[in-house]
């Protein structure tokens, strides 16, 4: 089970954080600090797997953004790497050639996509089409609602 997922920039700025197990604020801050320090300190082309306390840490860099997740001891690291990749694919499909700015300015969308993809730290929907569909469905609905709302009320 995934414990947390963090997105941060090369400068160590947090872009998105998702926690799948409850932690108090202080511990969260410690995790974020340790992760950014550890991951940013890694030279390029080194192993994508790390250890932190009793957790496995898997990270991958996509352009200027680092995707980093913490796993249970029993989990498969390679699979987690593919989970990160699938998430990037989904973002890419949604935003169309996603870049860091998309995520900065639309982070709530990134959260929505993540919620459709992962639930309770496990992969919920493995089909790319379905995730996109359900996100679109909510977006469409959003649109119609908005049109409805913007109609002048008489």
């Amino acid at each position: 089970m995934m414990r947390f997922l963090l997105l941060f920039s090369r400068q160590g700025k947090l872009r998105l954080q998702k926690w799948f197990t409850p932690l108090v604020e202080r511990e969260r801050k410690k995790v974020v600090r340790d992760m950014t320090l550890m991951v940013l300190g890694r030279p390029p082309r080194s192993c994508n797997f790390l250890h932190w306390k009793d957790l496995k840490v898997v990270y991958k860099r996509y352009a200027s953004l680092y995707f980093c997740c913490g796993l249970d001891d029993k989990d498969n690291e390679l699979l987690a790497l593919e989970v990160l990749h699938r998430y990037v694919e989904l973002l890419d499909k949604y935003f169309g050639n996603v870049c860091e700015l998309d995520i900065i300015f639309n982070f709530e969308k990134a959260y929505f996509i993540l919620d459709e993809f992962l639930m309770g730290g496990e992969v919920q929907e493995t089909s790319k089409v379905t995730v996109a569909k359900s996100i679109e469905a909510s977006d469409m609905l959003q649109e119609t609602m908005e049109e409805y709302m913007s109609k002048p009320a008489f």
Partner: protein, 1108 residues
């Protein structure tokens, strides 16, 4: 103009994202977020950023509280607040508005509201209660998206005490027509299962239906739950192995829609889950393993595309192959796969290859031999992660012959490692290896010195403790002990002389203890000199108070000469006015010991640090003081549980939950005594987290009375992996040349050009892999059972005694106890008497561990069975003579009713469950499952009995033997009965039953002399004043009789105002009670070999007296 351009640019991402046409209002707010983000990026210092965000938060605060803010604006405000929180600034004033937004907003505002709530509120936040109604409403909504949102938020932040509120609705969603809803519902239930397994116990059948769902996505989701359940009790799901294999076969051969493929690999996530499940099911089970060989072979064969995801599957497959019952062909293929991983140029695969090797090396040490050159290369890999994994692998193959090389490599790594967690873990491993395999004393001391200096202050304390114990206890050889101690003293003196390096605190503490204890061994060493060096330590500013205490304590042992004495007095004087109390106390002791040589010899004798001390644990020397204080009117001491009970009686707050919201499983828990802590802790069980805090706050287990500890905190707490301590058995002879040759041959084949460097590496390989060879292939199948030869670490005698059995660890009374317990050995004849002729149809389950008898033919109709009925006619005749409780109705659902009766057997509590069929139709597949955390059900902590058919109006009796191994004042037993009515779907009933400690108490027939002997041998005791029963002529006898009556104690003797009573806790832990009556009170003094038993029993004595 530029403003307009800017606005358009800001809106661009949202345009790209197919978002709505930005209305005028939206644009302006979006640009607020945009300008905030841009503003932050433009700043240069952290301080400015803080100032800007503070300003932003102030603006947000003003906005949210303004009544004119529309919901749409609120949505944008929430997004900004989330952003501020992400940057680490608290926006708690927004939380309530986020909830409001989720409540009132229309669809898309609701979505942001829910997102904000799930990001702001942690599990268990107080405000969450306000969300329950919203979630309930949305779960019932006809709008799919609303239901989805509600399910998502439920799985994210609902704490366990709120689960009952939404559970029925979530359960309903399992039959929803849309698969996305079903899938989300299954995952939400999975989350519930992780938090509170017993609350979703009753829906196991529905999980089964989810497993058979026509949508593969739902099925995949249900596997999460199955994986978890199988992890907990694999034996209950063995029959599913076939189905899992079939599913995997279909997946592997590409029968799923292409939708589920990932980079043209069919449903990898599903495959992964199935492989994991199969590993759990096939572990140590040949029959189940055999079913899966074929599909595993297929999986290994099919995974050939060169992509990460195939490697992930391969890796899992290899792990499964090595976990289940071995099959040589598969092992061969798996080994080949591991080879591919290890040799891969891709660093991630190499890492996993090393991990896989580490995993299998104990079963198959030859595999490590095959890859020895790669392993050597990995030792010098630039990436420390790879190095670390390699060391982990080496740690597993360490033996007495290669220990020096491997430990050297580990220490090398430690010297360059800065990561604290890595250091702590590795230091422990080095210490363990050094203790196990040290070739000689001086190497051991040197290695441990390195461990202590590298380990730093964060080292686990048991490393230092073990080391000191080892020094102090020594071995059988006195000369060797002396040598080791002397070596340690020598090296420490020189370390202190060097003084340049600042050593970690634990190391300084060790040094001072060893010098204090053993520096006399060094002939010609002046204690004054040692003392001076220790004194120099005190001068330093970087040592902690704790270390200072250790130094002072060491000084106390050293002041044997006049010079030393003078120096010690100076130090003592210097610290006698210290502000720290611990340090001041040490100084005072030092001063006193310095003055009084005979006292010093008595308190601190030479080389006796591990002799057993006579500890008067009852503090009887204070008796005079206590009675004096009591005479002067002091309040008598009350143990914590009594104080708590009184507190709970005085408390005016109502801890009872309101009726209707009581969840089904909890209401079933019997509420016996509302005055007792039971009631209070039950209600705290409902409020969830507070129980755990209580548990943390106090080590007194009694406070947890009645709390159902059915779920642990897995998934959150780090789970300690059982350290496997069984390296391959080592041939005790010298390194066998054959294996070295084997290794060398291999390298010659692999490497054609043997440069000097190669030569070096090969040499290293020869030293590292010595002792791992073909002679070990014997243990290829299954793990080696032989424990490693432990040269160093000796087991402490009392541990051995404890390991040996649950008997009290005192040898002198063993005879007595043996005599007592011989006839208390479980009497299985009693159990089997069910087979007797009076029972027409009976079946025994699992080798007689639990007996389930089914009686139907010719019995009275089940309707006759009601609470209070004499169970006599139904119990096996052999049990009729035993004392038993009244029949208690547990649950009934119109079809099947369950009643329970406790039969007090001499060696166990027999729980008889009467399952009566209230219909005319027969019930099939009746099974009954009994589990308990506190009590042990026969051989395991759980047992199941199954009866294939229960005729209409028939009654079945299921018997379970329960014993309590660790005293606890209450044991909660969870009973689960499942059955299938002739035509209908399987149904289940779950109920819990609480048993008191008194149910497990039996008389212990001893004579007065035996009592006396036992009394002295037990160490754990509790003393307390109880009320005497006043209204009789002999209050003591009356009180004891009442106790005997209620708790089944054995009154050994009554002499004047004193009475002695003995009892035992099944399965045979004695507890003795010594009573003294004076005035209106009874001073009860309890002793037992178990630490918590006296306390628990005292509590029940108290209750028994209160009641009579």
């Amino acid at each position: 103009m530029s403003d307009v351009v800017e606005k358009t640019l800001t809106a661009l991402p949202s345009l790209l994202s197919l978002d709505s046409q930005p209305g005028a209002g939206k644009l302006s707010v979006t640009s607020k977020l945009g300008s905030l983000i841009r503003g932050i990026t433009e700043l240069t210092s952290k301080h400015e950023e803080e100032k800007l965000i503070k300003k932003e938060l102030a603006a947000i605060k003003e906005h949210v509280s303004s009544p004119n803010t529309t919901l749409r604006q609120m949505k944008e405000i929430m997004v900004r607040a989330i952003y501020c929180e992400m940057l680490g600034f608290e926006a708690s004033f927004c939380y309530i508005h986020a909830i409001k937004l989720a409540q009132q907003g229309s669809m898309f505002e609701k979505r942001v509201g829910y997102l904000a709530v799930s990001l702001f509120l942690r599990e268990g936040h107080d405000l969450l209660l306000l969300l329950v109604n919203t979630v309930l409403k949305d779960l019932q909504s006809t709008n799919l998206i609303e239901v989805c949102m509600a399910l998502t938020v439920v799985s994210q932040i609902f704490p366990k005490d709120m689960i009952p509120a939404v559970l029925p609705l979530v359960e309903d969603k399992l039959t929803h027509s849309k698969e996305i809803i079903r899938r989300k519902a299954v995952l939400a239930l999975y989350k519930f299962y992780l938090m509170a397994p017993n609350q979703v116990q009753h829906i196991h059948d529905k999980f089964r239906r989810a497993l058979c769902d026509k949508d593969p996505g739902v099925m995949t989701a249900s596997l999460h739950i199955y994986l978890q359940m199988i992890k907990e009790s694999p034996e209950n799901y063995k029959e599913l192995a076939g189905s899992f294999v079939v599913i995997l076969k279909q997946v592997v051969s590409g029968k799923l829609p292409a939708d589920f493929s990932y980079h043209s690999v069919p449903a990898p996530w599903l495959q992964m889950q199935l492989l994991r499940i199969l590993a759990l099911l096939g572990k140590e089970d040949q029959r189940t393993s055999e079913i899966m060989y074929e599909v595993l072979d297929e999986s290994l064969r099919r995974a050939e595309i060169n992509h990460n995801i195939t490697y992930a599957i391969l890796y899992e497959c290899v792990k499964t192959v090595y976990t289940i019952h071995p099959k040589s062909e598969l092992l061969e293929k798996a080994a080949k796969c591991i080879g591919k991983f290890v040799l891969s140029p891709k660093i991630n695969l190499k890492y996993l290859g090393l991990k896989a090797l580490t995993y299998v090396v104990q079963q198959d040490p030859n595999l490590a031999l095959q890859h020895q050159m790669t392993i050597i290369e990995c030792l010098d890999h630039p990436d420390p992660i790879i190095k670390r994994e390699t060391l982990e692998l080496l740690y597993r193959i360490t033996n007495a012959q290669n220990v020096t090389v491997i430990v050297e490599k580990m220490l090398d790594f430690l010297r360059h490692s800065r990561d604290e967690y890595t250091v702590i873990g590795l230091v422990g491993k080095v210490a363990e290896l050094a203790e196990k395999y040290a070739p000689d004393n001086s190497w051991f001391v040197q290695t441990m010195n390195a461990v202590f200096s590298l380990g730093g202050d964060a080292m686990q304390p048991d490393i230092t403790n073990n080391f000191l114990r080892l020094l102090a206890e020594g071995f059988d050889n006195a000369e060797e002990d002396r040598q080791l101690r002397l070596l340690a003293v020598d090296s420490y003196l020189s370390l202190l002389g060097g003084e340049a390096a600042s050593l970690p605190q634990p190391f300084l503490q060790i040094i001072s203890w060893v010098l204090g204890e053993y520096s006399y061994l060094k002939v010609g060493q002046d204690p004054t000199d040692v003392l001076a060096r220790l004194g120099a330590l005190l001068e330093r500013h970087d040592i902690t108070t704790e270390t200072r205490c250790w130094v002072l304590a060491a000084m106390g042992k050293l002041c044997t000469t006049d010079g030393a004495l003078r120096r010690a007095r100076e130090v003592a004087h210097q610290y006698s006015a210290c502000l720290d109390t611990a340090l001041r106390q040490q100084a005072m002791e030092l001063e006193l010991l310095g003055q009084d040589a005979p006292l010093r010899h008595r308190v601190l004798p030479h080389d006796a640090s591990c002799e057993d001390l006579e500890v008067d644990s009852s503090l009887s020397f204070l008796d005079g003081f206590v009675s004096e204080a009591l005479a002067l009117g002091a309040a008598p001491y009350k143990p914590p549980h009594q104080r708590q009970e009184e507190l709970s009686q005085h408390k005016a707050l109502n801890f009872e939950p309101y009726g209707p919201s009581l969840p089904a499983s909890l209401s079933a828990c019997s509420l016996t005594d509302r005055q007792s802590p039971t009631a209070m802790s039950l209600s705290s069980g409902i409020s969830g987290n507070s129980t755990e805090q209580m548990q943390k706050a106090s080590s007194n287990t009694l406070k947890l009375d009645g709390v159902k500890k059915v779920w642990g905190k897995e998934g959150y707490l780090p789970q300690k992996e059982a350290t496997e301590e069984a390296p391959p058995p080592v041939a005790s002879s010298a390194p066998t040349p054959s294996c070295q040759q084997g290794g060398a041959e291999h390298t010659q084949l692999a490497v054609s050009s043997a440069g000097e460097e190669e030569q070096e590496k090969r040499q290293l390989a020869a030293t590292l892999f010595v002792g791992l060879g073909s002679q070990n292939s014997l243990c290829l199948m299954g793990k080696p059972d032989a424990a490693p030869k432990r040269i160093w670490r000796r087991q402490r005698p009392d541990q051995e005694a404890l390991d040996g059995g649950s008997r009290p660890p005192v040898s002198s009374v063993d005879d007595t106890l043996d005599g007592l317990f011989d006839d208390a050995v479980p009497d299985s004849a009693l159990l089997y008497s069910l087979d007797g002729p009076s029972v027409p149809q009976s079946c025994l389950d699992g080798g007689g561990e639990a007996a389930g008898g089914s009686l139907d033919a010719g019995m009275e109709p089940a309707l006759a069975l009601s609470p209070g009925d004499a169970p006599g006619s139904l119990l096996p005749p052999a049990l009729l003579a035993l004392p038993r409780s009244d029949m208690e109705a547990l649950c009934s659902d119109g079809t099947l009713s369950v009643c329970a009766c406790k039969v007090y057997q001499r060696d166990a509590l027999l729980l008889a469950l009467f399952l009566s069929n209230a219909c005319d139709l027969p019930l099939e597949e009746l099974s009954c499952d009994v589990t308990s955390e506190e009590a042990k059900v026969t051989d395991g902590y759980t047992t199941a009995a199954s009866i294939s058919l229960l005729a209409g109006r028939g009654v079945a009796v299921v018997l379970h033997h329960l014993v309590m191994e660790l005293p606890s004042s209450q044991a909660v037993v969870a009973v689960r009965v499942s059955y299938r009515p002739g035509a209908g779907a399987p149904t289940q009933q779950a109920v819990s039953l609480s048993l008191s400690l008194a149910d497990f108490i039996r008389p212990l027939p001893v004579s007065t002399e035996e009592y006396g002997r036992l009394w002295l041998s037990f160490s754990n005791d509790v003393k307390q004043n109880l009320r005497l029963l006043a209204d009789s002529e002999d209050p003591l006898a009356a009180t004891l009789a009442a106790l005997k009556d209620k708790l089944r104690l054995h009154i050994v003797d009554i002499i004047g105002a004193e009475g002695i009573v003995a009892c035992q806790l099944v399965p045979g832990q004695p507890c003795l009670l010594h009573c003294h009556a004076h005035g209106g009170t009874l001073t009860a003094w309890l002793r037992s070999p178990l630490p918590t038993l006296p306390d628990c029993l005292l509590y029940h004595c108290q209750k028994a007296i209160e009641e009579s």
